[in-house]
Symmetry: D2
Subunit: 315 residues, 4 copies
Amino acid sequence: MTSLRLLYLGPPGTFTEVAAGRAPGASGAERVPVASVDAALNGVREGEADLAVVPIENSVEGGVTSTLDALGAGRPLSIRAEVLVPVSFVLAVRPGTALVDVRRVGSHPHALAQCRGWLARQLPRAVTVPALSTAASAQVLAGASGDAPYDAALCAEPAALAAGLEVLERDVADNAGAVTRFVVVGRPAAPPPPTGSDKTTVVASLAQDRSGALLELLEQFATRGINLTRIESRPQGTELGRYTFSIDCEGHVADPRVSEALMGLHRVCPQVRYLGSYPRADGLAPVPPAGTADRDFTAAREWLTQLLDSGEASA
Amino acid sequence: MTSLRLLYLGPPGTFTEVAAGRAPGASGAERVPVASVDAALNGVREGEADLAVVPIENSVEGGVTSTLDALGAGRPLSIRAEVLVPVSFVLAVRPGTALVDVRRVGSHPHALAQCRGWLARQLPRAVTVPALSTAASAQVLAGASGDAPYDAALCAEPAALAAGLEVLERDVADNAGAVTRFVVVGRPAAPPPPTGSDKTTVVASLAQDRSGALLELLEQFATRGINLTRIESRPQGTELGRYTFSIDCEGHVADPRVSEALMGLHRVCPQVRYLGSYPRADGLAPVPPAGTADRDFTAAREWLTQLLDSGEASA
Amino acid sequence: MTSLRLLYLGPPGTFTEVAAGRAPGASGAERVPVASVDAALNGVREGEADLAVVPIENSVEGGVTSTLDALGAGRPLSIRAEVLVPVSFVLAVRPGTALVDVRRVGSHPHALAQCRGWLARQLPRAVTVPALSTAASAQVLAGASGDAPYDAALCAEPAALAAGLEVLERDVADNAGAVTRFVVVGRPAAPPPPTGSDKTTVVASLAQDRSGALLELLEQFATRGINLTRIESRPQGTELGRYTFSIDCEGHVADPRVSEALMGLHRVCPQVRYLGSYPRADGLAPVPPAGTADRDFTAAREWLTQLLDSGEASA
Amino acid sequence: MTSLRLLYLGPPGTFTEVAAGRAPGASGAERVPVASVDAALNGVREGEADLAVVPIENSVEGGVTSTLDALGAGRPLSIRAEVLVPVSFVLAVRPGTALVDVRRVGSHPHALAQCRGWLARQLPRAVTVPALSTAASAQVLAGASGDAPYDAALCAEPAALAAGLEVLERDVADNAGAVTRFVVVGRPAAPPPPTGSDKTTVVASLAQDRSGALLELLEQFATRGINLTRIESRPQGTELGRYTFSIDCEGHVADPRVSEALMGLHRVCPQVRYLGSYPRADGLAPVPPAGTADRDFTAAREWLTQLLDSGEASA
């Protein structure tokens, strides 16, 4: 019996590994760290693995924009699930270093940014030094001899422990409720059945020569009462001022209100890439405004069918 | 073999009788004048006749608002066709009356209004006297002895001739291109097949407690690129400030863009009454904006079907 | 000392005369009935009178569309006030006629329509006969000898009494809360100061060659959170399908939110005619949505002024 | 005489230094490299320098999101000008290395991404290695002895030459027209006069509890016919799904159409930060749709002023 193979944005010890360990439907999977979001997604595209886990929103590791770009281009992929992981850093040092000795703090720039207030209060004289990832800052610090580029690393606790570092402080963060969102990605497949608490992800480009094109895109959702839970612009890369939009909306492609909105996008946008419908990690169910519940769409279609048959309809 | 029976807003000699004579699909019908729009429509509702011909837009006979109100309430009816009739009045007098003798001109107030400029130029000293219809003004003038309430009648030429009056002036009108639009109404039936040049008529009420409700109604058409050829508000009669809207839009209920707009109306309006899809008298075909042609709706649905099946879709 | 001279749509005994008697700021005016809305408004235009009182909404006398058309064209006029009059008909007969004797009921067609249900219940066998006004129906009935065209008239009580008729039934109406709205019209003048409970009336035409023009018009109000209390389409008279819109909105032209909306109309509509800002008869004050109160407009302008001065602004 | 002091995102040899050398109004300035966008902007905030030059759009150096975040928070700053710099990389090596020897290529991840196609064609077997900046990759390569982490660096030509490297290939890029946009930032000041070809930059947050808030934001621009040349979402950092929007629009804060849109933003958004109006580097002038030119706004205001004075207005 062969088990699932799952790639995640490494190195081990990052929050992405935590997310990989919690991915729905992948509990027994072989988990393999790779060096980049591109490597993780291409591994799935090429059949070297079944699933990839990559950060998509508010990450401390900087993988977000590369995730959006990599999902939006190349061979199609499909988001199967999302995982939310609370962000909680530790301040890690080589054994023997005390807080008063810390003059330089290394980490990924996003992690340093998220702890800027804490550092200003607790280590007002320390300077920050950028590293390629939070886990890398731990490894570099552990591996360096006397000439380490920094005295402490801001990283996830598993990375600190794996590197043999000592944890000086826990729960280092300016915003106690910070969360990173990850997605579990596979090759395209029919979406799972709606659960009543779903999200749908699409990438849409705008017609270049039409003012108001973004407005038109958003109206496809607004006129069906569909909330967006995320909208991010990404430059198309060809010239300044041209964007695609990466969007998460509430609901499932099989819900009438969502399917009609997606068909509307297909009509008004030059390109639309559907990236999947999947259960929400927070379990929230949408509360559609009057006239936009699925039952309203169903009733409207029944009414139309009666009209086409007989020229009149009840109600 | 029984022939069709068609009721029209009388009396004979009005523009409505002209329209009744040109009603598509009713060339051999028995044509019966009735006293009111209500009588014509109720006669069809109750099976006393097969069809009714009533003015619906820009009429000189004043039947328009009563037509809108009568179609919008009561048992459902179905518009089968429309007929356009150019409006052309004559100034009719009793034999022997000269233009210089005309001191008082009688007609329906709408006809008087449409000839206001002509009267001011040609008969600057004449006063106008309201009558119940243009044809009635001819009959009253013909039937009166010395005490006629007016010296000339503004009416359609057949009415003048039928009453034994003499025509002093033809083509009396301020606006040479004036046209009245009539509809041919039957009991509800499946709509005729689309011709590519069709109109659809609906009546929709607005949710009372939502600001922007009219905007929301119009967006159902605008987001599908559908032009409205007529929109008229009618008071609901229950209190000031409450309206229903009588709307003609381009296209046929079986066209995907129109069917989706109608389903949208059904969702956002408390009440929608479909009054029929029928060929346009002017033969014009819609020119939908980018992304709103029927083929765009069809392509979008095919794309969605692929997504639901396999999670990905070409294009 | 000269008093005000006020023209109203006659004859005496109609609901318009009742409204004229209650017109704000005209308590001592000389009140003169005239034969048509046009006559009333033109009398003011030409300086023969100071004010006119005409029905504008939901009238039983049929003056509404002619009022809208007459205000929307010709030399400018200005609405100074509005008056609401409850609609309450009586069934009037010649002395000696009993209810069981009533076979024919005469009145203006709108009055007959408003009492259709009552007539069907109380006088199921009676036919209705159209007359030129409710007051005229009383006068005709009173003046006729044995050959009266109807046995009873539906009219306002004063008209019945003035004609010497007897009142058989009071409060004849299908809708107990029916109200007619009248406006008091003068020559253009600077608007009265805002009261906090005002209305503004405008007439706007649509650009002929732009789809979505009505949507654009409505957005000028919607984006400032302004409710419309009346919107009515009127054919422009030049060809089918071309309309102007007569609109009452909440607020006063001197309110920032309203002034900005009117400037928006001026930009997007080929023609806009301002017809006045005046106190609401119902005393209701608007409840603007978040961000559209006058104080929000004022704060936004102060913020802008700071930016223009210094490149930054508080809040 | 004291000259201007200008900070730019270093190290020397990056495209940002090129932009700093072309900054309008800063030709004689002392140019000082700093380690981060934050350091550059804070130096200006604290008066240590007069101007900062930082990348804002489509940069290869990765400074974009940190620029957006740093401009959007903290003490206000003001954009004075923009500079466009074509992106053109060289492939630089230590003297003696031939193209066939290149197995590993180092650079900032964004530069590697922009040359992905070129690398796949010219160096199909080479792996890519991330560095902290393009200039840093040159310095690291030049400074390393036998154990360099890569055999070639992708960087700007000045950086290669300054590090003593040899240029193997010029014009390395997948997209020949790639451009990076930089802004010149100072402390807040009254904006320069409009030139007819200007841009305005703002940051706006969305009301958290209102669906359709982004639509409402965009309508402030769309209803005034204002094109957006850039719109980017930035997470607010407090919780998933909350965004601010960084926006460049055509026009100048002193243009009536822009000033009205900004006031609209101020009304509907919880927070708006104005970041300046400045000449466009491309010299393009807007072509406003019908009804949204500055003269239309001016005419509308004159019309309103007449109404407020006299109750009527010409046109």
